[in-house]
Symmetry: C2
Subunit: 294 residues, 2 copies
């Protein structure tokens, strides 16, 4: 595990992020094309910046497993960022978390309007399947659907809504986090590996890695909502507590939350050592998640 003080060489992540940003711009429909407003809204949300962790995970797993065809992994990896953005847009809606700020800018329904936000979320959702299908593999279309369906992300979102304002056990929070956030991160790593035709044992290890960092990612999100800086986060801190959200710190306290996240990342780093080729890239991603302040 990287301590806060360990300096990480982030060149790899920055390069990949630049590449992902370029592809996202390419795959999103242009504003010059009708329906203008819908395309503008989609681009506003997707191109607002972001760490691009999900596409980077897919790219890293793909390359680690020997994949080398940008025409396959390009659209598939961007599909993962696009589906993530759709989930944020719908999550921010007044009837959901009712958030005004995202990535330092007004949320989509604030900048445009609620109807446009519902439709732009839906449009990104479709686009993610369109791009995933461009990989030519029906297997990863299934993977995406499983990661974001009621057995994955949407199941976690529903549980999250239902848990608000209630007493929750740590098992319930773990369910919410591993589904709402974990399932898509895990799915991203798996999709990269599957597209590179990795073998079953390698896929099992990558799945395990994805699961650990997926859960850690959301616990750290909870911790940052308590002690992060609004300027860096680009969204209001303390909103979980105000909204009586089910979080790790609320149930086990901030210290135990941080400790569990770090243990999960340490486990992920252990798994990285056993992965074929480019294990150090998986280590870097885990360490980066541990150090993130936004």
């Amino acid at each position: 595990m990287a301590s806060k003080s360990e300096m990480l060489d982030l060149t790899y992540l920055k390069d990949k992020r630049t590449e992902v940003d370029r592809l996202l711009d390419l795959y999103l429909p242009p504003v010059s094309k009708y329906p203008y407003r819908l395309h503008e809204a989609m681009r506003y949300s997707v191109l607002a910046g972001g760490k691009r962790i999900r596409p980077i995970l897919a790219l890293t797993a793909y390359e680690a497993c020997g994949g080398n065809n940008p025409a396959i992994i390009g659209p598939a990896s961007c599909a993962l960022e696009i589906v993530h953005t759709y989930s944020l847009i719908h999550d921010d809606l007044p009837c959901m978390d009712d958030d005004d700020l995202r990535r330092g800018r007004p949320t989509l329904h604030k900048k445009f309007d609620e109807a446009t936000a519902v439709l732009a979320g839906d449009a990104l959702h479709v686009l993610s399947f369109k791009l995933m299908a461009q990989s030519g593999s029906i297997k990863v279309v299934h993977e995406l659907a499983d990661a974001i369906g009621t057995g994955g992300m949407l199941g976690g979102q529903m549980a999250d809504v239902e848990a608000e304002g209630k007493e929750n056990t740590i098992d319930q929070i773990r369910f919410i986090h591993s589904h709402k956030t974990g399932a898509l991160l895990r799915g991203s790593a798996r999709i990269g590996a599957i597209l590179a035709n990795c073998d079953d044992s390698e896929l099992a290890r990558i799945t395990d890695y994805g699961e650990k960092i997926g859960l850690a990612f959301q616990i750290i999100d909870d911790v940052l909502d308590v002690e992060g800086e609004q300027d860096k986060l680009g969204k209001k801190v303390g909103s979980d507590s105000r909204n009586q959200k089910a979080t790790y710190p609320a149930v086990v306290g901030i210290e135990r939350a941080r400790k569990e996240a770090h243990q999960l990342l340490a486990d992920a780093i252990d798994i990285s050592q056993s992965l074929n080729g480019n294990g150090e890239r998986f280590v870097l991603i885990a360490k980066f998640i541990g150090q993130r302040d936004s």
Copy 2:
């Protein structure tokens, strides 16, 4: 074209509808499975009845083109009804059409709540891609994405939202209708044909047929909103006019609207005659759309 007085033998449509209802029940996640509330909401909306025109169109095209594998067309045809239901749920939301009644029952956000309606719509959206992928054909995943993306249904929905309360030309209304409703009906016929490996000229005719009945279907919807009966429709009549929606009757009057719908259906029936095998089933579907009162 069938006049109102012509008695149609609806046995074929009823049999197919029964089969589709059985499959929908099978493919929807059970209420006994967590997240219970989300699964309950999905089933509430999909199993509320409905004409099942989209799956029937797909089944009819599939069989007309020689397809005979229920394991392929079953999930694909149900995907079309499920994606249609998702679009109705999101369309009914307070920030969209704000409708309280659908198929004679409270709309989903009225029966449950808004957050659940957003998530259940999203969950049906994912499920439709999952089922479409079960056909094993990446081609029809693309077809579905094209039919419901910003170049299809969602483009029409956005245009519809933007057109509210404005003066609209007949070309604008035609764009809205052919995209918002037409694209998925056209796509349903195409998906059935593609899954049966039909040849290009047959696909072109089926596409043409789907386009005609797709536009006619929405014009008749507009007409029913003016002069239909609430009990039969299962939703409030006159809501288009109250909401200042862009409709055919609003722009060209009820008589010309009815005339254009009937002309489109007459054209669709002409095309049916030129289709290989089961042409009479396509004729029946067109006549049924012309006679529908719900």
